[in-house]
Point group: C2
Chain length 416, copies 2
């Protein structure tokens, strides 16, 4: 029996045409976050399972991790999120690092979920975190970066909406209603699912979990989008000063993770076919402290590649991407050895050249070049080498140029 | 008890200063392989364990893989090498792909080994593969790429040596001696370890495994570096035409993997402190065929990041790398909101700016900027905004310039 050619279920192979899209997206992400002074870090995909026990949501650790025991008896997990890892790394050099600390990474994350549209078992996620700023400037900056990323891809203000809430403020409402820790947890999970269930069903569940009086009061709060907590109002003003006008208060925004301590936000796609939360983040001031060092105020967000790509496709924001290779080189006659010198020269000038050394007929070589999507064919034969002038065919326009080496390289690199 | 801040044993955290080195190395790798017309692909780190059972060496699969059963009962493995994966992907689109096919990737690979200098449990490995060329041009190109990479980092010819052998030729010698399949396997493993053991001990082992007559003959062959197999001689000439003069025939080069079918090569560091094989590759024409499709002639190599970095460090080829961030922005007075417009403008011009929004005294902010290694500090206050002229301090030279926005951006981006 022969082996399967399929990738592991719920994960993706990236053939060059797929990888090209990913590289385009990641390069934009890096460009924007670096323009805000962020520096890239990375860490092993394997972490001790302990790292997730106290911080991630229970559902993820007990049902959705890729956990196993290594050959040395250690319990390990493929990271389902990056936040515990980055907190570990900051804690590890708590005293040596210069604050404010701006870090980003684009790790691949693994969760054992039922694969479905837009939710795979493996995805890449941009993680952006600002450490060391307790003030609202940090919340503002993190949200401004999320916004700048979408705009840098060409998105318009009306293509998405930024929704804001404060977990601290929500806890204050819970305090007023004198709710227990268990009740808070249940309600946060329920509130978090509000957008996904029917309004009537949502209210019904609410009245099941709480006394009538309290349920009514809390639902009233969740439905009142006009009475902004002062910090949210300030944040909206600050975002507006940065040219961001599509941020609103959403009192029923909760976010799934337990570790958020104040401002949380999510970015929603406004496209009618994809009207849902794309990504989000918030403030989590306590995590670094779990490693036995002083806490560090922290704000961050995560943005997944699958969701981002879906957004870009729906809004027609993904450009046509040509292959990285500039030209297929067709060697005429027995000149492979003689051609090496000029190939070295052209590559030193920056040209990206794929030599067709198949020995097939020239017609077959040209057909193969066309099939590969590479824009040019360069012919090198005895005459060309002698005269130091080469025939360059533009496969799209069909035109042919006879050029000296330097101009060949210039023509090829100019197209990028 | 607080959580550990250490990464998983045998794997590395990449703090920004480490990641910067990796980014420098990977960007050079990409630049060179793309100049030869290679396109990047990628695949999930998890593969079905079956993928490795028939192709990798027994030692790796049974003792050194990270294998486990997923929540759906599938036996899976974190890839210990990329070759089975790339063969799977080519087989999956065998008919649709345009040949010659040039692919590369820089995956992270996992092996459960005892961590030691230069051998970690996790490393990144450039994988470069050329599919569809049965002729020696493919072997030549793959070795020329390996060479171009080292030269592109600034290495000189005398810093390394390229050693060549032919597994096909070695099998021919085995045929002459009428060796059994088991004997061949044992001997290949032994030959592969030659460089690591004492010459006397090596010969003794040889005489233990083989009849005296055969052992003598084989040792004679292994020691005769002057009688080049014709294909090796041709390859050395071709490499020489590409300007590569440091390739030699090494009859006792075997390579650990079972799947090689003809030419194999390894690149050795000539540095006295690190005189050992750094990386290598060869021809493996049979792998794609294991997936139930027609075979594809293939040549490839893998180059690990740990070994490469050690080579660059030993030969003083790693430059000083400055942080990605151009300037720390210090806001004078209560101007955070007012500064947003100019910050947007400067970032749009390409400047990478980290705003110190800590609210500390200006002296403390400057000290923190110096500590972070960022080369400039940009001051923005009420006066500066009113006059649209900003104070830029070069932290290395100590000099201060007063510049309009456009020139601030130009000065900052010019340093890169």
């Amino acid at each position: 029996m022969s082996l399967s050619t399929q990738p592991y279920k719920g994960a993706r192979d990236f053939y060059p045409e797929d990888k090209r899209i990913q590289k385009y997206m990641f390069s934009k992400l890096r460009q924007v976050v670096e323009s805000f002074g962020y520096q890239e870090y990375d860490a092993p995909i394997i972490e001790p399972t302990d790292l997730y026990l106290s911080k991630s949501s229970d559902e993820i650790v007990s049902e959705q991790t890729y956990s196993f025991t290594d050959r040395g008896g250690r319990n390990v997990t493929l990271r389902p999120e990056m936040t515990p890892t980055v907190s570990r790394m900051v804690a590890g050099k708590r005293q040596e690092l210069a604050y404010p600390l701006r870090w980003y990474s684009i790790p691949d994350l693994w969760r054992y979920e039922r694969p479905q549209a837009g939710r795979l078992r493996q995805h890449y996620q941009l993680n952006v975190d600002l450490f060391g700023i307790a003030g609202i400037e940090a919340d503002h900056e993190i949200i401004a970066i999320a916004d700048a990323i979408l705009k840098n891809f060409g998105a318009q203000e009306q293509d998405y909406q930024i929704r804001l809430n404060s977990r601290l403020h929500l806890e204050g409402v819970f305090d007023e209603l004198d709710l227990s820790v268990d009740q808070r947890k249940t309600l946060l999970t329920l509130i978090d699912k509000r957008a996904k269930i029917d309004a009537g069903a949502f209210e019904k569940l609410f009245y099941e979990k709480l006394e009538e009086q309290k349920a009514k009061k809390l639902l009233g709060y969740l439905n009142d989008v006009h009475q902004l907590p002062p910090k949210i109002a300030e944040l909206i003003d600050l975002l507006s000063a940065s040219g961001i006008k599509n941020a609103i208060f959403d009192p029923s925004l909760a976010r799934g993770f337990d570790y958020y301590t104040d401002i949380v936000f999510e970015v929603f796609d406004t496209h009618p076919e994809n009207n849902r939360s794309m990504f989000g983040g918030g403030r989590y001031d306590g995590l670094v402290g779990l490693f036995g060092v002083d806490t560090v105020p922290t704000v961050g967000f995560g943005m997944g590649d699958v969701t981002l790509q879906r957004f870009l496709e729906l809004h027609n924001l993904l450009p046509e991407l040509a292959p990285e290779t500039d030209a297929v080189v067709i060697i005429i006659g027995d000149q492979y050895t003689a051609a090496q010198k000029i190939l070295n020269e052209l590559r030193a000038e920056g040209a990206r050249l794929a030599v067709d050394s198949s020995g097939r007929k020239i017609d077959a070589q040209i057909r193969s070049a066309v099939k590969s999507g590479v824009p040019f064919v360069l012919f090198i034969g005895e005459e060309e080498i002698k005269n130091a002038t080469f025939k360059l065919r533009n496969l799209k326009r069909g035109e042919e140029l006879h050029l000296p080496a330097k101009q060949v390289a210039e023509t090829l690199t100019a197209r990028r």
